[in-house]
Amino acid sequence: MTTSIAIEVHDLSKRYGSGKGRSVLALDHVTLAIPSATIFGLLGPNGAGKTTLIKVLTGISDITAGTARVAGFDVQTESLQERARVGWVAAEVILDDDFSVWENLWLQAKLQDLRGWEERAAQLLKYFSLSDVRDEKTNHLSTGMRKKLEIALALLHQPEVIFMDEPTIGLDVGTRRMLWDIVTGVRKEFGVTILLTTHYIEEADILCDRVAIIDEGRIVAEGSPAELKARVHADLVELELSDGVDAAALRSIPGVQEVKSIGAGWQIRVASSEEFLPRLFAAIPTDHVRKISVEKPSLETVFLDLTGKRIGAEEPMGDIRKFYAQIRRARG
């Protein structure tokens, strides 16, 4: 069954723990409608609720309030039917390393209760250029090959939806770009809906048809990357000066929309950085400027605009499996 809306989430909340001060609201009244055959990105910093949403949508976690349907099935009351129609690609590569490539496919076929899966498996191995290593143990494969195999496993039962939870976390730039090509290729070749979570701005921008920005469990904006960027009618200038200057002086420069103090410097929203910079240097001697950066509208500035903070650099990993995954990758 193909639905025009592949994932439908309505007023969904998820609370971990109970009792005052001991519970965490990981998802706060989330509502989403994700069309079929799109690549939909969930962009937000670590701890924003991205992985929790995937856990809820795959039936791994219960829902505290609200409803969610995936591929036409309620994730709570029709969990088994739903799980037969979804695939999953983890942040870290999760394979059975005691098994060969083909044996991993065999196990996945058993778990999905598939008949006559061998032909499909052979096609997938060919598509992902893994045919030559089908009898190799998976721990002998490169990170890129392991990732490809994981996607092949997710596709074996011809799912309608694939969840990719931070699929490129910890990968080097080359492998990350290879994976982007694979994701777009998979959508085109197999027509599946892909919901991927990421905290990489560039990934969401390049890869996704639509993006929802999530922060502290709430969806704060949703649209195509172009639509989201168009919401921010401003460039962002970050400035650090050697001499003290007050906000009023900066605000008086024509074209300035907003001035905020951040640490030792200033963050200035301007209508056009090209027009603002000559005016700034006319008002303030150049040698007083210790540091300056200009950011054109991006998903990062959208996030900053909406939440007042940056998605930022990677935080220490709270998830031990992500740590193990990085260790495995580091070993090559």
Partner: protein, 255 residues
């Protein structure tokens, strides 16, 4: 449902027996038991042995008991495998398919039990090497092996139920120490329970390890199979499997 069970069961078996250390220990351990523990009474006068064990052949007396105590520890491996799956995310991979927690429990319990049963041919071969002779009655062989299967399944289920909510590597070891030691010594597996103090006799009289040891001893020593022992072990297996099934459905943690 059968497909998922079979996939996970085969995975358990292959993962176990592709490990050369597991194969080595499986083969060596029975010989060590019989050689070291079995030989400890080799210099004891026969009349003393007959008075204590009702046989002069202590190795024949010991064999069913050692196999029964081996089944006690097999559950630990199923629990360890489950915790490994949770910690490395494989449990999530399994559960994001139409596979239920109950099926995962059953595959782990039967996988562990099968792992235990592999010790039977090795142990029998070791016993033959030490001069033990066996009845050729297929019915008695089947009853002995079935009894051991019930015992292994029961303890595997018990271990899996107790460790279902845990993700800590140490839990199976701690639970194993807590369960194995008292049940091994408060049973008729190594010594006749008639010599125990009354409180230990009370434990031994309901301890499934005793029932398995006595069932096997009747077969190996040729005194006849007690079918009530087998029935008790079947009841133990069914009860523990049912408890494990319910507990896993409710409390098996995914990560």
């Amino acid at each position: 449902m059968r497909s998922q069970f079979w996939g996970l069961y085969v995975r358990e078996i292959l993962r176990t027996f592709r490990n050369p250390f597991v194969i080595l220990i499986t083969v060596v351990q029975p010989f060590m038991w019989l050689a070291f523990f079995g030989s400890s009474f080799s210099e004891v006068p026969k009349t003393y042995l007959e008075g204590l064990f009702h046989t002069s052949d202590y190795i024949s007396f010991l064999l069913p008991g050692v196999l029964s105590t081996s089944m006690l520890s097999v559950g630990m491996f199923g629990s360890m495998s489950t915790i490994q799956d949770k910690r490395f995310g494989f449990m999530k991979r399994i559960l994001i398919t139409p596979t239920s927690k109950e099926l995962i429990f059953l595959s782990k319990a039967f996988g562990s039990a099968t792992r235990g049963l592999v010790q039977i041919p090795v142990m029998v071969a070791a016993a033959l090497a030490f001069g033990v002779t066996f009845s050729l009655s297929p019915l008695e062989w089947a009853a002995w092996i079935l009894g051991l299967l019930f015992l292994a399944l029961g303890f595997s289920s018990l271990f899996l139920a107790v460790t279902a909510p845990s993700t800590d590597w140490q839990t199976p070891g701690v639970v194993s120490n807590f369960i194995t030691m008292p049940l091994m010594f408060a049973s008729a597996s190594l010594f006749p329970s008639q010599q125990f103090p009354s409180w230990m006799q009370a434990i031994a009289s309901v301890n499934p390890v005793s029932f398995s040891a006595l069932l096997g001893r009747g077969f190996v020593l040729g005194t006849g199979t007690n079918w009530w022992d087998l029935a008790y072990l079947a009841l133990f297996a069914v009860a523990m499997t049912a408890i494990g099934y319910v507990v896993s459905a409710r409390w098996l943690r995914v990560e």
